[in-house]
C-alpha cells in the first residue's frame, strides 16, 4: 500500500453537521488521522438527518453522516465536564490540526480559544469555520445552511433567468454550499500545514462561511462596485448560457464564441434561420439571445438530450443534459471512472458512496467507513492517552464520554 498524501497528519475535529466535518473528511480521505469528537449521547447533528438507509431513522444509518465522516475515528466526549475539558486539552496536545465550528462564544466559555490552546500546543493549526467569522457585528448570529447561502448573496442570484420577481430568491441545492465552505477551509488548512514541515509554525485560521461563499460568487458580486450593476435572479438578456426544454427533459446550451456557435448550428443541421445577420458574430448573438432561443426551442423539442449532447459535443458545441439524480448516479462516465465506491459499515452494511473528484497518481483515494458513535473511545482513551480500563468505565458512568 502506498503512502497517502497527508499521512502522518493528526487532526482533531470538534465539529458537527456539514462544513466542519466535510473539511476534515477531505483530510481523512487523503490519509490524515482524524479523531472526531461527538457530544456524549447525541452525537453529530447529521446523525439525526436523512437520508436514512431504508428510510429508517437511526443514528448509524444516516447517509449524510456516513458520507461526511468516512475514514475518521470517532470518540464521545463532553468538554463541559471538568474531566472532559482535561481530555480535550490532551487531545489538542496530540493534534497537528484542530478543526472546529462552534459559535465563537461557546469556545470562549469553554476556554478553548486559540490563545489558550497554543499554550498547550504552540505548533497547533486551528481552523474555525463559522457562519460570519470570529469578528464583526454578526459574529454571534445564528445561521443554518439556508441562511448562509442567502447571507452570502448566492441566494439573491438564484434561480437565474427568473421572469417573475414576485417569487422568492432560492438556495442552491441541499447542502452543497456548506460543503463548498468545507473545501475552502480545507485548502487554507493544508496550506498552513506546509510551512510546518520546515519551520513548525502554528497558527489560527478564521474562516467565515459567508466570505468563503462570496469568494465563489465574486464575479457576479464585484459587478456592483466596478460597474454599478446589481446582479439578481432576474433574466439578463445578454446571458449566453440558457436552458431549453427538449423531447425528454432540459438541455443546457451555450453559444458564445464562433466555434461554439458553429457547433450548435451544425448540431441542428444548419437551419436557415441561423444564417440571419443578427447571428453573425458574438456581439450580435448576445444581443439577440431571445430570438436565438425562440428558434432553437422547436428543434430541441424534436430531439432527446442524449442526441443533442453527443452530436453537439462531436461538432464543437459544449452543450450538456440536465441530469436527474438518478441519471447522474447511473452516468456511464462515473462508472468507468469508479466514482462511486462501495464501503462496508457495521450497521449500514455495504453501500455505494461518491468518492473523490481527483485522482492522485501516487496516493490513491481509499474509502473507510464512518465511525459508530464512540467506536474508538477505547483505542483513543487507553492506547493513545493512557487511561486505564477502570478510568474509562468511571468516565462513562460520569457521562464524560
Amino acid at each position: 500500500m502506498s503512502e497517502k498524501a497527508l499521512e502522518g497528519t493528526k487532526v482533531l475535529e470538534y465539529a458537527s453537521f456539514i462544513s466542519g466535518p466535510y473539511c476534515s473528511k477531505l483530510l481523512a480521505d487523503l490519509g490524515a488521522e482524524v479523531i472526531k469528537i461527538e457530544r456524549t449521547g447525541v452525537g453529530d447533528e447529521a446523525r439525526r438527518r436523512g437520508p436514512f438507509l431504508g428510510d429508517i431513522p437511526h443514528p448509524e444509518r444516516s447517509g449524510l453522516f456516513l458520507y461526511l465522516n468516512t475514514n475518521k475515528k470517532g470518540i464521545t466526549l463532553d468538554p463541559e465536564t471538568q474531566t472532559g475539558r482535561k481530555i480535550f486539552l490532551e487531545l489538542v496536545r496530540w493534534a497537528d490540526i484542530l478543526i472546529e465550528d462552534k459559535p465563537p462564544k461557546e469556545m470562549e466559555e469553554l476556554g478553548f480559544t486559540y490563545d489558550k490552546l497554543k499554550e498547550i500546543n504552540p505548533q497547533l493549526i486551528m481552523t474555525s469555520i463559522t457562519p460570519f467569522g470570529q469578528t464583526g457585528p454578526y459574529r454571534d448570529y445564528k445561521a443554518y445552511p439556508l441562511n448562509v447561502v442567502h447571507g452570502a448573496g448566492s441566494g439573491y442570484l438564484a434561480p437565474g433567468g427568473s421572469q417573475n420577481l414576485e417569487r422568492e430568491p432560492v438556495k442552491s441545492t441541499s447542502f452543497s454550499d456548506d460543503a463548498a465552505c468545507g473545501i475552502s477551509a480545507a485548502f487554507a488548512t493544508i496550506c498552513a500545514l506546509l510551512p510546518r514541515w520546515s519551520t513548525g509554525v502554528g497558527q489560527y485560521i478564521d474562516v467565515s462561511k459567508q466570505e468563503a461563499l462570496m469568494a465563489m460568487d465574486q464575479v457576479e458580486l464585484c459587478q456592483y462596485p466596478n460597474e454599478g450593476k446589481v446582479a439578481s435572479r432576474k433574466v439578463d438578456p445578454r446571458m449566453a448560457i440558457r436552458v431549453t426544454p427538449c423531447k425528454d427533459g432540459d438541455m443546457m446550451i451555450i453559444a458564445m464564441d464562433d466555434r461554439q456557435w458553429k457547433g450548435l448550428v451544425s448540431m441542428m443541421d444548419e437551419p436557415e434561420w441561423t444564417k440571419d445577420e443578427i447571428f453573425k458574430d458574438i456581439l450580435s448573438r448576445m444581443q439577440h439571445m431571445g430570438e436565438m432561443l425562440k428558434n432553437v426551442a422547436p428543434w430541441a423539442m424534436q430531439h432527446t438530450r442524449d442526441e443533442m449532447y453527443h452530436t453537439g459535443q462531436e461538432r464543437g458545441a459544449p452543450v450538456a443534459p440536465i441530469r436527474s439524480i438518478e441519471e447522474a448516479a447511473n452516468w456511464q462516465q462515473f462508472k468507468e471512472r469508479d466514482f462511486f465506491v462501495e464501503i462496508d459499515h457495521p450497521k449500514a452494511g455495504r453501500i455505494s458512496y461518491p468518492s473523490a473528484p481527483y485522482k492522485l497518481s501516487k496516493t490513491p483515494w481509499e474509502g473507510g467507513a464512518a465511525p459508530l458513535l464512540g467506536q474508538h473511545n477505547e483505542e483513543v482513551y487507553s492506547t493513545l492517552l493512557g487511561y486505564s480500563k477502570e478510568d474509562i468505565v468511571m468516565m462513562r458512568e460520569a457521562g464524560v464520554i
Partner: protein, 406 residues
C-alpha cells in the same frame, strides 16, 4: 505573530489554464504566496480578458476586463504560441524551474503538444501536474468540453436547484470556483506529500465530479433508497419554516430557518405572540412541516411590514436564524463585512480604481495577501525569459519576431 511570510512562498506554478476553473485555482495558490506564471498568446488569449459567459459582459482590448483582474491577481503573464516547437522548448525550460503545472485543455491536447505529464516529468521528475477537465481524463466522455453550467448539469446539481414548478438552474460562477478550489486543495495535498517524500505526481481532476461530491447526501439517497430528489425552492426535508420571506422594500427578502420547538417558541415570542402563531397546527416540527404552505404565507404577512434588517435584528436577538437574502449592493455596504475588510481596492494601470474581494480566510501567522493587480497581456515576458531563464534581450526579440513569444 503575523509576518510577511505566506504558506506557499517559494513555490512556482506554471499555469496553462484559461477562463475560470483553472485560473481561480492558481489565484488561490497565488494569494497564499506561490509565484504563478500564466502562459497565454495572441492566438490563445484567456477568454476572460474579452468577455464573461456567465454575466454577459464584454471588454475592449486585452487589459480592461474586471473579471480577468479578479481571477488573476498576483500572477505574472507571458505569451508563448504553443503551436511552435520553440515555444514548447521554452515552456519545458520553465517547467524545470517550477514545482506545479496546471492545465485545463481537453484531455489529450497537452500530450499532443508535448506538454503532457509524461513529457514534463522527464524534464522535471518531481513536478506536480494537474489536469482539470469537464469529465476527467479517462472514460468514454473524456474528450467532451464543458463549462461551469455543464458541470452543474451533468453532476445532478442543476436539477436540484430552482422552484419545484420551475426550470432547473445551472448557476453562475460558483460552479467553476468550487471546482477550482478543489483543484487548489488537491495540489496543496500533493505539495505536502512532496515535502515529505520528495515525489511529484499527476492529478486528474473531473469538474463534474467536483460538483457531485458536494451533493453526496442526495446521491446516497439514491444509492441507498433509489430516491431521485428534485428541486424544491428553499424548502428543507424536515425543517419548517425554511424559506425566504418578502420584507418591506423593493425585492427585499429574509431567510428564516427553524429547527426545533425551542426556536419556534422564541420566534413566536419575538413576533409578538400573534394569534395564528399559537395555533396548535404549528406547535411541533412535524405539524409545521405538514402545514408549511400556510405557515409560509402567514410569516410573509408579518415580514412584509418590516425591513429585512429589522427582522434580522429582532429574530437574531431571540436566537432565531434569520439573515437577509443580501444583494451585492447590500454586501458591499454591510457594516459586518466592512469591519472584516472583505474587499480590497486596487489601482489597475488601465482600468484605474477597481474593487476585488480580499482572501476569504484569515491566517494569523502567514496571511494570504493581494500583492498586485492581474498582469497585463505579456507583462512579464522580460522578467520570465530574461531573468528566470537567463536569455538575452536579443534572443527575446528574435523570438518575438518569429512570433514564438507572441
Amino acid at each position: 505573530m503575523e509576518t510577511n511570510k505566506r504558506p506557499l512562498d517559494g513555490i512556482r506554478v506554471i499555469d496553462f489554464s484559461q477562463v475560470w476553473a483553472g485560473p481561480y485555482a492558481t489565484l488561490l495558490l497565488a494569494l497564499m504566496g506561490a509565484e504563478v506564471i500564466k502562459v497565454e498568446s495572441r492566438k490563445r488569449i484567456d477568454g476572460s480578458r474579452l468577455s464573461s459567459l456567465t454575466t454577459g459582459q464584454r471588454f475592449s482590448g486585452f487589459d480592461s476586463s474586471t473579471v480577468y483582474n479578479e481571477l488573476n491577481l498576483n500572477k505574472m503573464d507571458i505569451c508563448l504560441d504553443l503551436g511552435q516547437p520553440k515555444a514548447i522548448e521554452l515552456a519545458k525550460r520553465l517547467v524545470t524551474i517550477s514545482d506545479v503545472a496546471l492545465q485545463n485543455f481537453r484531455p489529450g491536447v497537452m500530450d499532443r503538444l508535448g506538454l503532457g505529464y509524461e513529457a514534463l516529468s522527464e524534464v522535471k521528475p518531481n513536478i506536480i501536474y494537474l489536469s482539470s477537465s469537464a469529465c476527467g481524463s479517462t472514460g468514454p466522455e473524456r474528450a467532451y468540453a464543458g463549462y461551469a453550467p455543464g458541470f452543474a448539469s451533468l453532476s445532478g446539481l442543476a436539477s436540484l436547484t430552482g422552484y419545484s414548478d420551475g426550470p432547473p438552474f445551472t448557476m453562475g460562477g460558483r460552479i467553476d470556483l468550487i471546482s477550482a478550489t478543489t483543484s487548489a486543495f488537491a495540489i496543496v495535498a500533493a505539495l505536502n506529500y512532496r515535502a515529505r517524500t520528495g515525489e511529484g505526481q499527476y492529478i486528474d481532476l473531473s469538474s463534474s465530479e467536483s460538483i457531485s461530491v458536494t451533493i453526496g447526501d442526495v446521491l446516497m439517497d439514491y444509492t441507498m433508497n433509489r430516491r431521485s430528489r428534485r428541486r424544491d425552492g428553499n424548502h428543507d426535508e424536515v425543517m419548517a419554516p425554511h424559506n425566504c420571506y418578502r420584507c418591506k422594500g423593493e425585492d427585499d427578502w429574509i431567510s428564516i430557518a427553524i429547527s426545533n420547538d425551542e426556536e419556534w417558541r422564541a420566534f413566536v415570542n419575538a413576533i409578538g405572540n400573534l394569534d395564528w402563531a399559537r395555533d396548535e397546527k404549528f406547535q411541533d416540527a412535524f405539524s409545521r412541516k405538514q402545514n408549511e404552505d400556510e405557515l409560509d404565507r402567514l410569516i410573509s404577512q408579518w415580514t412584509i411590514n418590516h425591513t429585512k434588517y429589522e427582522v434580522m435584528d429582532m429574530l437574531q436577538k431571540a436566537g432565531v436564524a434569520a439573515v437577509p437574502s443580501f444583494s451585492s449592493e447590500d454586501l458591499f455596504n454591510d457594516p459586518h463585512l466592512k469591519e472584516r475588510g472583505f474587499a480590497t481596492e486596487l489601482e489597475h494601470p488601465i482600468m484605474g480604481k477597481t474593487t476585488v474581494l480580499s482572501p476569504p480566510w484569515k491566517l494569523s501567522a502567514t496571511p494570504a495577501r493581494i500583492t498586485r493587480h492581474a498582469p497585463l497581456f505579456g507583462e512579464h515576458n522580460n522578467y520570465v525569459f530574461g531573468e528566470l531563464l537567463g536569455m538575452s534581450q536579443e534572443e527575446i526579440e528574435t523570438l518575438m519576431e518569429e512570433e514564438v513569444i507572441h
